[in-house]
Amino acid sequence: MSVDAETVRRIGRLARIHIDEDQVESYRTELNSILGFVEQLNEVDVEGVEPMTSVMPMSLRRREDKVTDGDQAEKIVANAPLSEDNFFMVPKVVE
């Protein structure tokens, strides 16, 4: 698998990361070398091996259906650049 310049731009847009046109080539090379490194794993024969989901044999922890959190609106919006009446304020997004 190899990444071309257009894929670099697309990944940038999807991740909301601004990529200058003169950076595209260096990102392309870096991504390809990372992919190349990971692709070495393809040499391992995993036929019939269950995908591992946890290092320790354990099952998904569950929680009781109880309200144990919340009522801290001020804390929630404390880091917001802009807020009003404990709402986050963001540049207008209308569909």
Partner: protein
């Protein structure tokens, strides 16, 4: 999913275009909010209408380092719903991240289930009245997080974001493309809502957004290849669903008949205009880059867990429908009306138990529901209780009052309340079954109207006139059956 056509084209549903007939193909993705106290992966409340951002934990706000822990009740609710949809329950399911950016999605991804949902294929039966019954396939049901809410009308160039809904558990219920008309689509939504409400797994409150539908619509030549579909997002009422589908099918037919092609796209329905319009084109919106959520292990449970939930399942609408017919002798149509709401059918059964089921169905549906809907009330706030209505029926069956007087009595109980038996006594509403008294009145009327007596012997249909006279004299209290018999014997017809 592979598209399989399970239906035989029904000409009744065809839409005629300039170049011939067309058929709609509809599938739905219904998002139903799970009834639970707290959210899917956090301990904050799901209560509706709280002040902004007060039902938000650091998990819901996606603060760094916070980890999701699944709510076991939401798992139970999903399994219950699966059982109610006669669906395959998957004892092992996985959570995936669906990645996209939006201000009301603080994580930058929604935790959902992609490849391995908790519930697989099931079925919903629709009763289409005279068109019979049809089975609509369920493709799958999966658990996922709801997003927050953006409000756009508070500020000229800013949107306000409230995360109270962020992280609330949703069940996405995906149907197969088995629906063929807007009427079927409406019936499907209503039936699904009824099932969820019976199960108690979603309150079905569409105005509050507890249930919303994404509707896939395409058109084709009857029985032909599936066409390209458009998805109408976030429809929040059964009526709007019908309107949106009708509009969208017509729009697509017009394009195709003009030689155009349908672009697969997402559209919005505007209830004010009754039209659908294209959402701002997001060419990359569908690149969700799903991958397994590394914060969550597979969700696993055993057969005993499923069996325990199955055991406590309530009687479902279809079973109740069949039982009403078998036990109370009501018509299939009446049974469908009654089972639509659990409160309605409970009321009916309280009235009908040990009494005449057909009469009870007739009264409950026509008199009571008719009156309630006229006043914009629900069964829960009916001024006439099931016990009171039952006691009115007892008075009818004991011959104490006639059906006509019963309606007057119903009116009195509705407006004034009180014990029907006492009211009949106090207000002299008892019907006169005393044959002696009726005979006396009949004799008087026969004696006073020799012309009519002459005519009725030739035209027995005139008997009604005599009945009317007797009723007039007794203020409607004479037992109609007794009046008829006495009149017939005295007039010799």
């Amino acid at each position: 999913m592979s598209l399989v056509d399970t239906r035989t084209p029904t000409p009744k549903y065809f839409i005629s275009g300039a170049t011939g007939d067309w058929e709609m193909v509809i599938g739905m993705e219904v998002h139903a909010q799970v009834t639970s106290e707290s959210k899917l992966f956090s301990g904050s409340s799901t209560e509706f209408g709280r002040p902004p951002n007060s039902n938000v934990s650091f998990v819901d706000a996606a603060m760094p380092g916070m980890l999701p822990v699944i709510n076991e009740e939401c798992v139970r609710q999903a399994v219950r719903t699966g059982l109610g949809l006669k669906a395959k329950i998957n004892k092992r399911s996985l959570f995936d991240r669906k990645n996209y950016f939006y201000p009301d999605l603080p994580q930058g991804y929604q935790i959902s289930q992609f490849k391995d949902p908790i519930v697989g294929e099931g079925v919903v039966k629709l009763d289409l009245g005279e068109d019979g019954e049809v089975e609509i396939g369920i493709e799958r049901l999966h658990l996922e997080q709801d997003a927050g809410k953006s409000i756009h009308d508070q500020h000229p160039n800013m949107s306000f974001v409230d995360l109270n809904r962020s992280g609330v558990a949703l069940m996405e219920i995906v149907s197969k493309p088995d629906l063929r008309s807007s009427a079927e689509a409406r019936a499907y939504l209503s039936k699904l809502r009824t099932i969820l409400r019976y199960l108690g797994t979603c309150d079905g409150n569409m105005e509050q957004g507890s249930m919303r539908a994404d509707i896939n619509v395409s058109v084709r030549r009857p029985g032909g290849e599936f066409g390209t579909r458009c998805e109408i997002k976030n429809v929040n009422s059964v009526r709007f669903a019908g309107q949106a589908i009708e509009y969208e099918a017509r729009r697509q037919i017009d394009i195709l008949e003009d030689g155009g092609t349908i672009d697969q796209e997402t559209r919005l329905f505007d209830p004010k205009t009754g039209e659908t319009r294209s959402m701002r084109s997001k060419e990359e919106a569908h690149d969700y880059r799903y991958f397994p959520d590394p914060d969550l292990l597979p969700l696993e449970f055993d057969d005993a867990f499923i069996a325990m939930l199955a055991q406590d399942l309530p009687e479902l609408p279809d079973e109740k429908h069949d039982r009403l017919i078998a036990e109370y002798g009501v018509t299939p149509y009446d049974a469908s009306v009654l089972v639509a709401e659990r409160t309605s059918v409970d009321y009916f059964e309280d009235v009908a138990r040990g009494r005449d089921g057909k009469l009870a169905a007739n009264w409950v549906i026509n008199e009571l529901f008719g009156r309630l809907s006229k006043e914009g009330m629900s069964v829960e706030d009916s001024p006439v209780s099931a016990a009171q209505l039952g006691s009115i029926f007892d008075l009818i069956s004991q011959g104490e009052i006639s059906g006509k007087i019963a309606k007057d009595l119903f009116e009195i109980v509705w407006t004034e309340g009180g014990d029907p038996a006492k009211l009949v006594e106090e207000r002299g509403m008892k019907q006169v079954s005393d044959t002696g008294a009726i005979e006396k009145i009949v004799d008087e009327i026969i004696a006073g109207n020799p012309d009519q007596v002459e005519k009725v012997r030739e035209k027995p249909g005139l008997l009604g006139w005599f009945v009317g006279q007797v009723m007039k004299q007794t203020q409607g209290k004479a037992n109609p059956q007794a009046v008829n018999e006495i009149l017939k014997s005295k007039l010799g017809i």
